[in-house]
């Protein structure tokens, strides 16, 4: 990921570390802002195919830290406009690549944060997304026909952000497909019917149900317990039984529990400590787990999780859409969230 072509000249910020907290706030800001500058260029080539999502991760994290003005809005929006496919209406991760629903969601999320949906052809996006729905209610990720519950989430998230959920897709069938991926053994969800429950895919499915206002279909107590069981003695969360903890699962488990009104079922304090140990205190940024190399993906999910946990100095984040709450409010969107029992 390289933001150098989007970064404004760096602001000089005086006070470095806030000593009342363990969060290396300014280091992270710097890390995101400068990401790519001193990295091997090889990384830039290798991540071309996901650049749109990379920008979304950086933009969102900076906005949550109230530092959005460090990136240049105009050049980012120009980049996004160039990535919209004139034929299908979907977005490519980067010019010269093919459109995919994953990058289409990232593009729409960035545009919503910048309040710039008017800059692109939204009708074409709606056509693209609704055209990917299959008879059984599932969604293709692109024209090549991979089906996955991730794409169900992307579809309803895009349409919700565009305010075009009604009359564009068959919502009932979409819900039916997602529920067919619910596992009887643990109440969780996999990528397809019969596939193993996985915290990332649970986030997609719970988020999907939140956006389609159908959380009543969940066995909240059962799934809630399974999600709580993801917390290990280190305080970190894993994504499946017997796997290692990882900062991005902090986000996926945490946001799912928040949507289900069950955040208090895990130890917030222990999780917070785990996330903070995954910061890189020299370069800034968060790694998947303590001692590993940071990346922008885990940086967003570390910051996002801390925001959910009410960390001081961070803006509120919406657990369903992983975007600043004020943006969701501005759009007048109300993803369903269950109240604490």
């Amino acid at each position: 990921m390289d933001f150098t072509s989007f970064a404004k000249p760096s602001n000089v910020d005086g006070n470095n570390e806030n000593n009342s907290t363990d969060l290396h706030f300014w280091k992270h800001v710097e890390y995101i802002e400068n990401h790519g500058k001193d990295q091997d260029d090889y990384e830039y080539c290798m991540t071309e195919f996901l650049r749109m999502s990379g920008i979304y991760w950086g933009v969102t994290a900076l906005d949550i830290m109230n530092q959005l003005d460090r990136l240049d809005r105009t050049s980012i929006i120009d980049f996004i406009r160039r990535c919209q496919c004139p034929v299908t209406g979907g977005f490519a991760p980067c010019e010269g690549h093919d459109p995919h629903i994953l990058y289409t969601l990232s593009a729409i999320q960035i545009l919503c944060i910048y309040d710039a949906l008017n800059e692109i052809d939204c009708e074409a996006v709606v056509r693209y997304v609704s055209g990917l729905q299959q008879f059984d209610g599932s969604f293709f990720g692109d024209k090549w026909g991979e089906v996955d519950t991730r794409f169900s989430f992307c579809a309803v998230a895009i349409l919700t952000l565009l305010g075009r959920m009604e009359g564009t897709i068959n919502v009932d069938r979409a819900i039916k497909f997602v529920m067919s991926c619910c596992n009887q053994t643990d109440g969780g969800f996999g990528s397809k019917p019969g596939a193993e429950s996985h915290a990332g895919l649970i986030y997609c499915c719970v988020g999907f149900l939140s956006l389609t206002q159908s959380l009543h279909l969940l066995d909240v107590d059962k799934l809630g317990w399974w999600l709580c069981e993801r917390q290990l003695t280190s305080g970190g969360l894993n994504g499946r039984p017997e796997k290692l903890p990882d900062v991005c699962y902090s986000w996926w488990v945490l946001s799912s529990l928040t949507i289900m009104g069950r955040l208090h079922w895990i130890s917030a304090e222990k999780l917070k400590q785990f996330i903070l140990t995954c910061q890189d205190s020299e370069t800034g940024g968060f790694a998947d787990r303590t001692g590993n190399m940071p990346d922008i993906f885990h940086t967003l999910f570390g910051i996002g999780a801390l925001s959910i946990l009410g960390f001081e100095g961070l803006k509120a984040i919406n657990p369903t859409l992983c975007m600043p709450q004020y943006v969701i409010d501005r759009l007048g969107i109300k993803p369903q969230i269950l109240s604490k029992p």
Binding site: M1, D2, T4, S5, G36, K37, D41, Y42, E43, Y44, C45, M46, T47, E48, F49, L50, S53, F79, G96, H97, D98, L102, G141, D142, W144, D148, R150, N183, Q184, T185, K192, G194, E196, S197, H198, G200, L201, D221, W225, C228, Q231, G239, R240, P241, E242, K243, L244, D246, C248, W252, H264, W265, I266, K270, D288, R289, M293, D295, F297, P341
Partner: protein
């Protein structure tokens, strides 16, 4: 258990379908000079058979603040790829070019898509493509694009005879590889390969009794054959035997709960048997949170169905005591959950 590097890389791919920067750390698919093909490498610009092609450089936007220093090999291969793509050239040399491009970056899904276009146009031998993919998957077992390509080729061939072996090899290297399991389930469902799957699952559970993916596969297979009462009975024995070996096994307990639901109304013999089994474990001193959670469920259901007041009181006391033990001793981290379960139960009792 899988290596942390692999898991770090896999995490992102699993969720977002992306291949991410962490490959740098392991140097996999490296574009560096140390990789195994650099010595025999002849630049495309020096190959006679490519003399007619004018490469198309990457457009980094009008005003790139920092010029991107792609490695020469990477830059050249993709410049030629862009040229071939622009001409829609579908030839043997273009096919070989995509292999070079994919070797440099196997996550570039545009290259995979174009490769499929070429294979169709040339009516290539798709069995050769399967052999090629065996290798690519071996080196990139957590890459979405690779598995998807495999699936499309298998569909084109309408021949799934190699898929079980392929996924078995991948699962030998990482027995929880989500991609391999997905592909295996897809092949089994699409080509009706259920027949010997249960013995495969048996073997995996024997090798790693906590392998949640294998337990999930067990459920997947049996759901297909149908949960007759014989099957339910057999599975309950199977699972109880494995819990006796490892008591604190989340996967096995969840599986037991899933199977038990297939017994009518949860009041039949199996239910009693499982209850005795749990009580026996409890009496012998086992305090696994999964065991206690299971007992709470069983006592709660029994209590709410019990019309005899004295019996019901005995059961409800057990539920409250266990919830209390969980929140204060055995599962303190999740105490709020157990307090909630006790509260809920109190409300259910009042409504009874």
């Amino acid at each position: 258990m899988e290596q942390s590097y692999e898991s770090a890389v896999g995490t992102i791919q699993r969720i977002l379908g992306l291949y991410f920067v962490k490959c740098l750390k392991g140097g996999k698919m490296s574009d560096s000079d140390s990789d195994d093909w650099s010595e025999e490498w002849i630049p495309y610009s020096e190959r006679n058979e490519w003399a007619d092609i004018v490469p198309i450089p990457q457009d980094d936007g009008e005003h790139p603040i920092v010029a991107i220093a792609y490695s020469p090999k990477f830059r050249e291969v993709f410049d030629y790829f862009r040229a071939v793509l622009a001409h829609r050239e579908k030839s043997q040399r273009a096919l070989e070019l995509t292999a070079d491009a994919l070797r440099l970056n196997p996550a570039n899904y545009t290259v995979w898509q174009y490769r499929r276009d070429i294979l169709r146009a040339l009516e290539s031998d798709l069995y050769e493509e399967l052999d090629y993919l065996d290798e690519v998957i071996r080196d990139n077992a957590k890459n979405y694009q690779v598995w998807h390509h495999r699936r499309v080729i298998v569909e084109m061939l309408n021949d799934s005879s190699k898929e079980l072996e392929l996924t078995e090899v991948a699962l030998e290297r990482d027995n929880k590889n989500y991609h391999a399991w997905q592909h295996r389930q897809w092949a089994i469902k699409t080509f009706d390969l259920f027949e010997n799957e249960l013995s495969f699952v048996d073997r995996l559970i024997a090798e790693d009794i906590r392998n949640n993916s294998a337990w999930n596969q067990r459920f997947f297979v049996l759901k297909h054959f149908g949960f007759t009462s014989d099957v339910v009975q057999r599975e309950i024995q199977y699972t109880m035997n494995r819990i006796r070996v490892v008591k604190n096994n989340e996967s096995a307990w969840n599986y037991l709960g899933g199977i038990l639901k297939y017994e009518d109304n949860g009041t039949g013999n199996c239910h009693q048997e499982v209850l005795s089994f749990c009580e026996e474990l409890y009496t012998s001193g086992v305090r696994s949170p999964y065991l206690l959670a299971f007992l709470i469920d069983l006592y709660r259901d029994q209590c709410l169905q019990q019309s005899n007041v004295t019996e019901s009181d005995v059961l409800s006391r057990k539920v409250f005591n266990l919830c209390n033990d969980m929140s204060k001793k055995y599962d303190i981290v999740r105490r709020k959950y157990w307090q909630y379960i006790a509260e809920q139960f109190k409300e259910n009792l009042a409504e009874k």
